[in-house]
Every structure is written in C-alpha cells, then in structure tokens.
Amino acid sequence: MRPSWMLRLLAALGLLVLLAPGALVLVVSFSAGDFLTFPPPGFSLRWYAALFSHPGLMAALGTSAILAALVAALALLLGAPAAYAIARLDFPGRDVLATLLMAPLLLPTLVLGLGLLLVLQPLGLVATWPGLMLGHSLVAIPFAVRIMTTAFAAVPKELEAAAWTLGATPLRAALRITLPNAAPGAIAAGVLTFLVSFDETVISLFLVGPRLTTLPVEMFRYAERTTDPLIAALAMSLIAFALLMVAVVERLMGFTRAMGRD
C-alpha cells in the first residue's frame, strides 16, 4: 500500500527531530560571533581555526585516535574467533557464550566506568593507556563480536561444506573461504568499533586524568563550562567524521544490518 500523506508527514517530523541538531551544529559552527546564537551574526572559519590551534583539544584528539585504533585492533583480533565460533560452530553452551559476550552492552556505561575506577585507582592505572584500553574494550569487544557474527553468518555455510568436499581441512576452509567473504563485514566492524571507542565518553570520564585524557571527555567538560562556536566546530568535525565512517560501513555491509539487533 502506498504510504498516506499523514504517515509521510509524521515520519518527516520524526526525521526532522533526528536531523535538526546536526543541521544546527553545521550552521552555528561557521558563526562569526562569540556565542551560540541563531541566526549567527555572520559566517567565518575563525572557530575552526581556533579549534585546530587549541593545544588541549588537539592533544586529546591525538590520544583518542591512537586509543581508538588500538582498541579496534584488539577487539577485532579477539572478537573474530569468538564471532566465528558463535556464527559457525555447533557446541554446547553456544547461546550462553553469546549472551556472556554481549552482557557488557546491557549495563549502563556509568556503572561500568565507576566499577573500573574503583578497581583501577588503587593500582595506579587511572589515566594510563592500559586502563583506558581495558575500559574501552569493555564496549568495543561485544560490539565487534556482534557485527562480525552477523558478517560470518551472512556467508553461506554451504561454501565451507563445498570447500571440505574439495579437500580443504576445516581450518583452511575457514581461512580461504569464509574469512575472505566476511572481510567487508570485518572491516565494517573495525570501522564501527573505532568509532565507538573514539566517541566513548562516560567510561572515559572515570578513567582519565590530567596526565592522559580523551577528546570526548574534554569536549564534555568544555561544553559543561561554556558553549561557544568553537565547541560547535568540534561537534561538526566529529559529526562529519562519523558520517564518513557510516558511509564506509554502508558501502561494505549495509549500516542497518551492521547495527541490527538479533
């Protein structure tokens, strides 16, 4: 049935709510004024210039980029075999394993972050690379496992069976047949996991310190203190980066499918 004009209107309203903040950030980030005013008194690139010469935020950006790359690599490396097992193998307790690996995603990051702070602080691991990596792995690994399970499951089982009948051992069939066909999904998982770690705010809030801090934390703290077009320029840069990553994932495996639950 063709959607009615009523449905179209309401759906447009819903999408408007979702897209409005991004659109406003875009406009305000090019403001020439000193405050987050709409409409801006004029347009300029001055706040982007200010952003890219802000030493604190740029240092945090570097940290976040390196951290996200490390975390994504770790999550893929550890998550891929687990995802393969869940998607492909038949063994006792498979559903239990899948649930265990997803469990951290069910709990509020605030509680997870607090827990990590409580156990890492006495060991002096707060505001250190290992501490932050551990904290981010907590959300990155389940996320990577979930997407890669979908990616592996999308490769027909028959392909592996065909490889066996042609003389490939199970390991060779997995490496030569399933892995190459799941590769776009694995790359998509890597990109999304990078983004998840790069944007992670709440757990990081508990685990950063003056020695080592991440971009989302610094952005949050900045926004708590003051709101000027500089923060909008930062927000716009992050939105643009995220949309670029989403486009990459859409091309690789379909974004909706990658994010889909069960």
């Binding site: 027909p156 028959e158 392909l159 069976a161 065909a162 490889a163 066996w164 009948t165 042609l166 003389g167 490939a168 051992t169 199970p170 060779r172 069939a173 030569r176 047949i177 190459p180 066909n181």
Partner: protein
C-alpha cells in the same frame, strides 16, 4: 577388488535428529555398482538429502556404515573422502573466478600451479565453459554457474559424484538440456554418481537405478522401468506416475472381487482385503464390438466422467462398477476418439499383470 563388488555400499545407515519424532534416515542399505547413476527420489523430508550429506561426510550418521570400494569411510571427515559434490545452491566461492573455483580442490591436493591451471581449464572445457574461465560466479548465468559447480566437482577426479537437486534452480526450459548433458558426461567419464531429486521424470530419465524414498526408508530400489511398471509398494505406486486405485477383496487364484466385478491379476498375495493400482497408459480403449487383444483378459464397461486436455495426451477419467479408472489418449489419436464427450459409454481392457495388488492398509 572384484568386478562385482559394489562401488558404494550403505549398511543400515541411520540419522535421527535430536528432538525429531522419527529418524530422518532409517537404517538404509543399498549397493551401487561402479559407474552407475543412482537417483534418490522422494518427497521433501523423505531423508534423501540427509543420505547424500552422510555419504559426503557433511552429516554424521547415528548408525550404520558407508563403504566406498570396500573401504569403510564412515568416520572420515569430508575433506578426506574424495567426493565431488554439486550443491543445490551450487555454493560457488564468490571471491574466486570460475577457474579459481575449479582449481581449488586441486590446490588442496598440493598440485603445482601449472598443473592446477591445466586441469581446471580441461574441466571447464569439458562442460563447455572454457571461454568463461576468468569470470566470477556473479557474472555467470544460473546454467553457467551450474556447470562451473559440476566442473569443480569433477576436476578432483572424485571417487563418487554427488548431486543435490542440481537442476532445481534452473529454468524449466534449460532443465531438460542440462539433465541430458550431465547424464552424457557421467556416462563418458564412468563416474559413479548419486543424484538427489524430487522430480520423477528427472530420476527416470537419468538414472540406472532409482531408490524411491519415503519417511527415511527406501521403498524400492530398482531400474527406472521396474519402478514405474512394477511398483513394489503402495507408496511407490502413488508417488511415481499416476494410477487409479481399485479396492476389493482378493480371492484365491489372484482374482480381485471389486464392485461386483471379478478382475484377474498376476499377484500371488494371500487372499484377503486388497487394493490394486492401474496406470492409465496400460488401459486400452475398445471400439464398440472390437474384440480385446490377446492377453487383455479384464474387460470393463465405463462411462466417461471428465476429459482433460494436457497437450501431449488427453487424460480420460471414467466411472466403472469397480470405481474410477483413468485412461489416456495420445493427442494424435483418431478424431472419433478425440471427440468423446462426458457421459459417453466406453469399453476398457487391460492385462492381469497391469494390476499392482497390495494388501489393504
């Protein structure tokens, strides 16, 4: 190994899926001579694909043995069985070309690059696809994909060729041609082959032996003509081809008493309630006052109930004192016959041996 030894032997092969009320495959035994083509024919869920997958090693039997050339392979994993399998979905590797797919099995056997390429090319040429060796599966039509799958399975010079409904994904028009090609290739190479299908025409046209399966069991294992003309069980009589069912009581001497008529049969079943199946192509229509040909000892008076034109034949459904009986006319038959209208009186004749008699269920 003696010439008479079966190439493939299944001994009480069974598979019972956990939670299923009945076994999917129930103690199947059969022998297949070297070079023969066996069709596993049956409705969906009869266990034919499970049987094939057990032979390939993709499914683990719960009981019984699989012997190939006298060797017990039951415990061997699929990659050590040397079976060429053509899957229903073809299962071509999407990231490899036709040549890459065909060479994969050779690579797994450790053959050198040049030898692999040569043999893959030869296999593709054998199925008439030499020119498309560099194409990915996505860039091939369904029929071409099917041939690549066949070439890939044959390239490893398999002990057995296993085909799981290989024609079901093809257009009806293509199917007949591919069917005959597969059969011709199989006979030329002399590869012992097992073929799963639910299509009786396919099974009858291609196979040396047909195993009609139902509910996990083999109902009949015989040559195609034998299966069609002399069904061993009630299931075979109804599943393969069409047949009219006549219910009655069997009397000594093979006489079936049925609706006041006494029909002669060639059965040696013990007397008692029985039912008989009669195929339409066995029923002879007699012109008024025409004498039945010699041997056509059963004569029936009938009334035409319905006439269905199906192109090559005209199916006639008639009513007799024994119950409904089907007959058929070749579409090229005389005008006089073709003009029959419902209600017309008919005389039917058939031989005693044309009745397949079974005890009543």
């Amino acid at each position: 190994m003696s010439e008479a030894a079966p190439h493939l032997r299944l001994e009480r092969l069974s598979r019972h899926y956990a939670g299923a009320p009945a076994p999917a495959v129930d103690a199947i035994s059969l022998d297949l001579p070297r070079g023969a083509l066996l069709a596993l024919l049956g409705p969906s869920g009869c266990g034919k694909t499970t049987t094939l997958r057990m032979i390939a090693g993709l499914e683990r039997p719960d009981g019984g043995r699989i012997l190939v050339g006298g060797q017990d392979v039951t415990a061997l994993p699929p990659h050590r069985r040397q079976m060429g399998v053509v899957f229903q979905s073809y299962a071509l590797f999407p990231h490899m070309t036709a040549a890459g797919n065909t060479a994969f099995g050779l690579e797994m056997r450790g053959l050198g690059r040049a030898e692999r390429a040569r043999r893959a090319r030869a296999a593709l040429e054998m199925v008439g696809l030499g020119a498309l060796a560099g194409r990915r599966p996505r860039a091939l039509s369904g029929g071409q994909q099917q041939r690549v799958a066949l070439a890939r399975a044959l390239a490893i010079e398999p002990e057995l060729l296993l085909l799981d409904e290989p024609l079901s994904a093809l257009d009806a028009k293509l199917r007949e041609g591919v069917r005959d090609e597969i059969r011709a290739l199989q006979q030329r190479l002399g590869t012992t082959t097992v073929f799963v299908t639910h299509d009786q025409t396919e099974a009858l046209a291609m196979a040396d032996l047909v195993a009609v399966m139902n509910a996990g069991r083999v109902e009949q294992l015989a040559a195609p003509e034998e299966v069609f003309e002399r069904p061993a069980t009630r299931f075979v009589a109804t599943f393969v081809g069409r047949a009219a069912r006549l219910q009655g009581v069997l009397e000594p001497g093979g006489v079936l008493r049925c609706g006041g008529l006494a029909l002669r049969s060639a059965t040696d079943l013990a007397p008692g309630p029985a039912e008989a199946y009669l195929r339409p192509h066995r029923v002879r229509l007699l012109a008024p006052a025409e004498a039945p040909p010699p041997g056509f000892d059963n004569l029936l008076d009938a009334t035409l109930a319905r006439r269905v034109y199906t192109g090559e034949v005209i199916a006639l459904e008639t009513e007799t004192a024994a119950g409904p009986v089907m007959a058929e006319l070749h579409a090229g038959a005389d005008e006089a016959w073709r003009g029959l209208a419902p209600g017309a009186p008919l005389r039917l004749a058939f031989r005693p041996a044309d009745l397949a008699v079974f005890p009543a269920p």
